[in-house]
């Protein structure tokens, strides 16, 4: 209990400081009482007003800037009523300046920043020219939009004032030098990164070892222990490795996400440069899907599948270890660019032609190579799991007797296995484009960027099902156990999963509805996509029916599964908006899409994985997790999760685009600067950021829970929840080999049908049955 209070206090403190943080962002006062001449344009621009913008010394803007250098601009206008002599003139002119990149710094009290845009103050309203400092970004061209208002000084905005607008551009420095210099120091960075990461891992690993047995801590005891972990091919050990790696990258991806959220918390922010922002959303997507979600799923699959089907290990243990080690090895390549500031910046989808183009960072090449290694990893894992499930079920277990989690892993691995080679070939083509300069996606040589989209999404859509279907399996297991009955409609569950797996191959075009793909294909994809809802709906109703006929016990994993039902269904519903082609043209690449896939990926996959952690942790470690901390985690996370992602639907509908470094809001309701958003967008974004931090930090509750219970948790019995698949037969943690004699599957009804009903119920449903304790 003491710990709970401490954690709560720290959480509260962090939350409070986070809520205060946005207000520390520069926003000089006086927004309300400025006579803002600039936002009162009336009518069309006037030709007698001409805006200008030069360097401070009067010379023209250079065509290229030097990264990081600070320039002083002098800008303003000539002509119009502002330059006429008017008696008792009150104001002269105003302006508004938007810079797409770099940082504007105020020089005097005649100018101010409002919502990321530079405008004049009351003092500055009496001038015709102003000046400001601008610090150049590291890359990308910089565009300036200058709007000026030449006023007649009668204090009534609008009538008689003339305005005009001009664009100014400063180009990025030539790309050649940048390319070579950045890849040159990449190597130092790579090796220091490898060294640093290995060192950190080694230290934490040594600590874990030390904690296990503080007395006999010595190198001679440690060396075999660590090399056992590095070389093990045991499915449980490899599963744990997957799990640790997945959790590690889950935190890395989370930190990246929080930095993205800080950047978006207020309009016109420049916490991250545009350049960094591109890298961050790329790495966030890649890390979360390929290095967090999939390894975590693989961790559970490794652990649980052989136990559930009564196999001694996977079919190819060494290949299994190889599949794992390709993950951390590939992750180095995926991330290595970012340390030198030139990480991949093309999005997790790696759309062409930008990916094969010079303007994307050198890190993109390494990213492609790293992805290629993950493709190899998935292929090896695929061979292993498909073979294991096909060939190594205990002899008494037919296909239709396999537990649903195993079924889900089978379907998901099948989807992955058949689709990922297409991605792999696309990656090889792009990688060769970027290295030896083949022309696959080079439009000037006739290459077709859409070919990449087809290869990618042929894999990409099944991929999203690859990460959700195991969550279906987990939820099926958890809900059945928690409802203290068998799953409702087992067969329809299996067919629904298989159906989803099959259909996922013929719907992928729904990601390309706006891409200029053949119209008839769009129509086909619309219909097939909508058809996905049918098997998905079957599953959801089966889960509801399971609970309806059962009697639910509210464990932490139950709560997460219930949360999953709510959020996943919401995500599925938002998904149904997109296949309608006209609707998608409006929604594509907006925050509505971001909301959708986070509802299915976080509310679906991650909630499912959390349920699995709470459900199988006792089996994996032999220690019970703390249910109170679990409840706390669930409540905080579930609420903040919805606060985090629900408003994104609204933002998307309002027109906030995804993958953009920042956004601007309208200075007031009359403002007509193209691309600006209604003012409430800013408050929603701050709200989202606060929730993001709460959600992110709540994960630490779970990590704490895991670590603490590992050290001093209650010992877990073999079957703490009353589950009845094979993994609950063996002790917690299971011995190696898991089964001395392969278990036999028998019909529960026949076995217990003749017994008194209470006994049967008691045996299956009471969590802490002394009988089950006895099995331990």
């Amino acid at each position: 209990m003491k710990v709970n209070v401490k954690i709560l206090a720290i959480t509260a403190l962090l939350v409070a400081s986070l809520m205060l943080a946005p207000s520390l962002q520069a926003r000089s006062g006086g927004i309300n009482n400025v006579d803002s001449g600039c936002t009162c344009h009336s009518g069309s621009p006037s030709s007698d007003v001409s805006p200008f913008m030069t360097l401070g010394n009067g010379s023209a803007l250079p065509s290229e800037y030097n990264p990081g250098e600070t320039y002083t601009f002098s800008f303003g206008f000539t002509g119009g009523p502002g330059s006429e002599f008017i008696a008792e003139r009150q104001n002269t002119g105003g302006f508004n300046l938007v810079a797409t990149s770099g940082t504007l710094t105020i020089l005097d009290d005649s100018t101010q920043m409002i919502a990321g845009q530079l405008t004049h103050t009351t003092t500055g309203n009496d001038q015709m020219n102003w000046s400001v400092d601008w610090t150049a970004p590291s890359s990308g061209s910089a565009n300036f939009q200058l709007t000026v208002n030449s006023v007649d000084g009668d204090a009534s905005p609008g009538d008689g004032d003339h305005w005009a607008q001009s664009q100014f551009v400063m180009g990025a420095p030539g790309g050649v030098g940048e390319t070579t210099t950045s890849s040159a120091d990449g190597i130092t960075v790579l090796f220091s990164a490898i060294l640093l990461v290995s060192l950190m891992l080694l230290i934490s690993v040594a600590y874990v070892f030390y904690r296990a047995n503080p007395e006999s801590f010595s190198w001679s005891a440690f060396a075999p222990w660590i090399s056992e972990w590095l070389t093990s091919t045991d499915h449980k050990k490899v599963g744990t490795l997957y799990f640790v790696a997945g959790l590690f990258y889950f935190l890395v991806g989370g930190v990246i996400a929080l930095m993205i959220r800080i950047q978006l918390s207020v309009p016109g922010n420049d916490f991250l440069t545009q350049d960094q922002y591109n890298q961050f959303f790329t790495l966030h997507g890649t890390v979360m899907i390929f290095l967090a979600a999939m390894p975590l799923i693989n961790g559970f699959a490794n652990w649980i599948v052989p136990l559930q089907i009564g196999a001694r290990d996977l079919a190819f243990p060494r290949i299994n270890a190889m599949a794992f080690w390709l993950n951390p090895a590939g992750s180095i390549l995926i991330l290595c660019g970012v340390f030198s500031g030139t990480g991949a910046d093309v999005g997790w989808t790696g759309y062409q032609p930008i990916t094969s183009w010079v303007s994307s960072h050198p890190g993109t090449t390494f990213w492609l190579a790293g992805q290629l290694m993950l493709v190899a990893s998935s292929t090896l894992a695929g061979i292993n799991f498909i073979t294991t499930i096909c060939a190594m079920r205990t002899p008494s277990m037919g296909w239709m007797q396999m537990p649903l989690f195993t079924w889900s892993v089978f379907v998901s691995v099948m989807c992955l296995f058949i689709s990922i080679p297409a991605f792999g070939i696309g990656l090889i083509e792009a990688f060769l484009d970027r290295t030896i300069a083949t022309a696959f996606f080079n439009t000037s040589a006739g290459g077709d960027p859409l070919l990449w989209s087809h290869l990618f999404w042929y894999f990409g859509h099944p991929e999203v099902y690859v990460v959700i279907i195991p969550a279906f399996g987990i939820v099926s297991e958890v809900l059945a156990t928690s409802s203290r009955r068998s799953i409702f409609g087992y067969k329809s569950m299996v067919y629904a999963m298989a159906g989803i797996g099959f259909v996922s191959f013929i719907v992928y075009g729904h990601h390309m509805l706006t891409s200029g793909m053949a119209p008839w294909l769009r129509f086909v994809m619309m219909l097939t996509t909508m058809a996905v809802a049918v098997p998905t709906g079957i599953k959801i109703f089966n889960w509801l029916a399971t609970m309806h006929g059962g009697s639910l016990v509210y464990r932490t994993h139950t709560l997460w599964s219930l949360g999953f039902l709510v959020t996943f269904t919401l995500g599925g519903i938002s998904g149904m908006f997109f296949p309608s082609i006209a609707m998608d043209i409006h929604l594509h690449e907006t925050y509505f899409v971001v909301a959708h896939f986070h509802y299915v990926l976080v509310g679906g996959t991650v909630f499912g994985l959390f349920a699995a952690i709470y459900y199988w942790y006792p089996k994996m470690t032999g220690k019970m997790m703390d249910e109170r901390l679990g409840l706390l985690h669930f409540l905080i996370a579930f609420i903040s999760y919805n606060g985090l992602f629900w408003p994104m639907h609204k933002l998307g509908l309002m027109g906030m685009t995804r993958r953009h470094h920042t956004y601007f809001i309208q200075a007031n309701e009359y403002s007509d600067v193209v691309g600006t958003l209604p003012p409430e967008v800013a408050s929603w974004n701050s709200f989202i950021t606060i929730n993001a931090f709460i959600f992110g930090l709540s994960t630490l509750i779970m990590v704490t829970n895991m670590v603490m219970t590992l050290v001093k948790g209650k010992k877990a019995p073999a079957d703490p929840w009353g589950g009845w698949s094979f993994e609950w037969l063996v002790s917690s943690p299971p011995p190696t080999p898991s089964f001395d004699d392969l278990p036999t599957l028998i019909d529960v009804n026949e076995e217990h049908g003749s017994e008194k009903k209470e006994n049967w119920l008691t045996r299956l449903m009471v969590p802490n049955d002394p009988d089950e304790e006895g099995m331990n």
Binding site: T179, R318, N384, T435, F440, N442, D448, H454, L742
Partner: protein
């Protein structure tokens, strides 16, 4: 989950099937039987470096996976640093000082592979688990794995063919444009450097080939034609190796020598394939009456944006075409196939060595069979690649 079988019946079935499940006991060929009982089977961890004692089942520890994985990282890092596309996307900038990293990476991968093989050398067919359930009842699990692996390989080549078909069908043929006097089929003029399609077969089997001294086909087709036969014959020699390994009428020494020879023949044929491929790509030949320039000399390269295309039957007329896309699809598709042959060669080196050491016998011949499945697949792919890229 229900079954109509009674418990008794199930136990009976299990007892029957358990006999074939897990460790299958066979008399070892040159028995150095140790006295570890069955009860030790899974408590054993073994040596991560090899050689492995397969009496105890599959290795529980191996350094190979981690070494190979990080070797691949180093290799790919080095490769991507050594070759960098230039700013015009039409050539590669070669950074020679990164080349050592590529070699180091390659060496690390090979050393990982050696560890893997060192563990495998002692494999004598004792440990060959069989599939328990439908649909692969009683089939060796490794064989099931191999077939499943080929499923993925099928998708790899399907994707390459997708690329090929997309570009081949979607790009106008240079010949048609030339026939049309430098005009696209939609009537727009062709300007020098535009992309259009010159198939690889134009250089290999088409009108561009200098001489037809061989009655049946042009000289440039010679390497490809020999290769086709080399691969088909090598598929046959693998089968012979398997057949020989299964023969019980030979004494072990003679049988081992024969297996080695057949596997060696396969190895030589596979190497011949790659060598001829390199000759066809980069070297060309000029032997007696046979003369054919390499594809490189012909200007069929991934960087050629101004190929002087004279086509067939047009006297002096020509157009300057960008054939990079055609070249890229050709080299990458046939190159991926070549990489598979190379993978086969690496496997064959190990197997030939193992045969030389007398590692194969009727009780331990299935490894050759599994390699054969892979090799037949590679052969089959060539039978598709050859007409699609060399003849059409």
């Amino acid at each position: 989950m229900s079954t109509s079988l009674t418990e008794e019946r199930i136990r009976q079935i299990i007892n029957e099937e358990m006999k074939d499940y897990g460790v299958r006991k066979r008399a070892p060929p040159s028995a150095s039987d140790d006295d570890h009982g069955d009860d030790h089977h899974y408590g054993h961890h073994g040596n991560g470096w090899g050689p492995h004692d397969w009496e105890h089942g599959a290795p529980h520890n191996s350094w190979a996976p981690i070494i190979m994985s990080f070797g691949i990282t180093i290799f790919l890092f080095g490769f991507a640093s050594t070759f960098v596309m230039n700013d015009d996307l039409n050539d590669t900038v070669f950074n020679g000082n990164y080349l050592p990293i590529v070699l180091v990476g390659f060496a690390v991968i090979i050393s990982g592979l050696l560890v893997w093989w060192r563990q495998d050398m002692s494999f004598d067919g004792h440990f060959e688990p069989k599939s328990a359930g439908a649909p692969f009842q009683n089939i060796d699990i490794r064989k099931v794995g191999m077939w499943i692996f080929l499923m993925s390989e099928m998708m790899v080549f399907s994707s390459l063919f997708t690329t090929y078909i997309r570009y081949r069908m979607g790009t106008e043929s240079c010949q048609a444009i030339l026939d049309n006097h430098a005009t696209y089929s939609n009537g727009l003029p062709f300007s020098p450097g535009d992309a259009c399609w010159v198939p690889a077969s134009y250089f290999i089997a088409g009108s561009h080939s200098e001489s037809w001294t061989l009655v049946l086909f042009p000289d440039t087709l010679v390497p490809g034609a020999i290769n086709t036969f080399a691969l088909i014959v090598s598929s046959f020699t693998v089968v012979l190796a398997l057949k020989t390994a299964n023969r019980t009428d030979l004494d072990h020494e003679e049988r081992s020598r024969k297996i080695r020879n057949y596997l060696g023949a396969t190895l030589i044929l596979a190497t011949l394939f790659l060598v001829l491929k390199l000759i066809e790509w980069f070297v060309g030949f000029n032997i007696g009456p046979f003369y054919a320039p390499s594809l490189l000399d012909d200007g069929y390269t991934i960087h050629n944006e101004m190929y002087h295309f004279a086509g067939a039957g047009h006297g002096g007329e020509y157009i300057d075409v960008n054939l990079r896309l055609s070249a890229a699809t050709f080299y990458v598709a046939t190159g991926t196939h070549g990489a598979h042959v190379f993978g086969g060669i690496i496997g064959l080196v190990y197997m030939t060595y193992k045969a030389h050491k007398g590692g194969y016998s009727p009780t331990n011949a299935v490894s050759i069979e599994y390699f054969g499945i892979y090799w037949h697949f590679v052969d089959l792919v060539w039978v598709l690649v050859f007409p699609a890229f060399y003849l059409y």
